[in-house]
Amino acid sequence: MSLLKVNDLVSYIGLFTILQGVSMEIQQGEAVAILGRNGAGKTTFLRTVMGLVKTRSGSITFNDASIIGKATHKISKLGIGYCPEDYGVFDLLTIEENLVLATHKKNAATRDRIAYVLDLFPDLKLAYKRHARTLSGGQRQMLSVGRSLVNSPALILIDEPSKGLAPVVIEKMALALKEIAKQSTIVLVEQNFHMALIVTDRYYIIDEGRTVHGGLMKDLENDKELQQRHLGL
């Protein structure tokens, strides 16, 4: 059974139609990359799934139930974690408050999850009581990713975690995501091919608001012509 199924999705912002036909199918336990040039519609795709961008036509089903038109908080509660492009970290809240705010239930399981997140990202443990505004870009990304895990979501959507980070930090983040991928299904928007290669097995390419290609990462790795054509690598 596919966890997330998207069929011929068209979505719009104001007068602009941004997605013009995105289709994909993601199975439970997979880690899938969404690749594409700047402005291709990758962010808009994740935002449309989260109910932050309006859908004109097409379908999105999660666990076989349509989520189109649902409020964002309800979509989140179905078990979808979201890490936006700008991290979405709350600067004036502490690391602890950022994590606690995200918890849907106050029980032992979520406390364990927070402990798990802190083990995964020791930086967050050290800064636990500090305001998030004091964090570096990499640490913000860790907080964003960590925060998306506290409810053990079935699916995690991550938007360009490598963006603006130093190569060593990217490496660290990639390994953490690989670890997370053992437990959760991941949809990873990435322009950093190296990162996508470490974390994911399969990919879709979005270009001008459409899914134009899909396949296995290891095939794409060897197909320089395809990389050139769709990714401008």
Partner: protein, 291 residues
Amino acid sequence: MANILILLFNGISEGALYFLMAASLSVILGLMGVVNFAHGTLFLWGAYVFRWVYVYIFPNNFILAIICATLAGFLIGLIFEKVFISRVYGNIGAQIMITLGLSIVFTELVRVIWGPSALVVGRPPMLAGASHLEFDFGTVIISHYRLFVIIVGVVVAVLGHFLLTRTRVGMTIRAGVQNSEMVGALGININRYFTLVFAVGGALAGFGGALFAPLSTTITPLSGNQFQLMAFIVVVIGGMGSFVGSALGSLFMAVMIALIGWTIPDISLVAPVALMALILIFKPQGLFKWR
């Protein structure tokens, strides 16, 4: 010397009212991005409901009159949000028109219900007196009612700060001020918080109006205007969305107006507006660094 102390004291008691208005205006602006031009109307309703209850419904029951005025502010705020403003989030033009429209309609309603002329409001006997403090430089008169208003302002500031920083609801609101969309993406129904903040903001404005009526001892349908303007200026001084900034900004404004009133009284109305313009141009994030 004695005169300036009296001016400062009186100014600060009005500053407490600016604060009640500005704090709610600021959080509404920060969380929902709504510039609420109807806030002064809620203040006005607070003042009139206070007098109505205090004179006719529960005569001379100060506490009950204040509670009724606060509730009126809460209910009207709730209705404003649920019926009107919730439909135009994100559409700034429509928000301005709707809140301005509500302001006009609800101010006219006050005129229709209670009449256009000034009404007299008495102070509760317990707080009606004044203390005369003798110093070498002269006598400072401390009105008990004004002292009461200052104390209430401080209590609300401390309580509000506590709620915003120490509770989950407060945490959610502070997070929403920065990024309400992300709060939704974490699984929280942010629209409920919008309604709550608008209604509680209305309650604070109504509460402020109730405190104002006995302070000024007369109320007219125009009573809300000055406070709405001052509240906007304080929001700009204190930084939009900042509760602590509203408190500091109100104090700052009160002191500034008192000092100007003492030195160059002719510009005491123009100066705050000019200050607001300067801050908007040169320091739009407000005068205070911490939030």
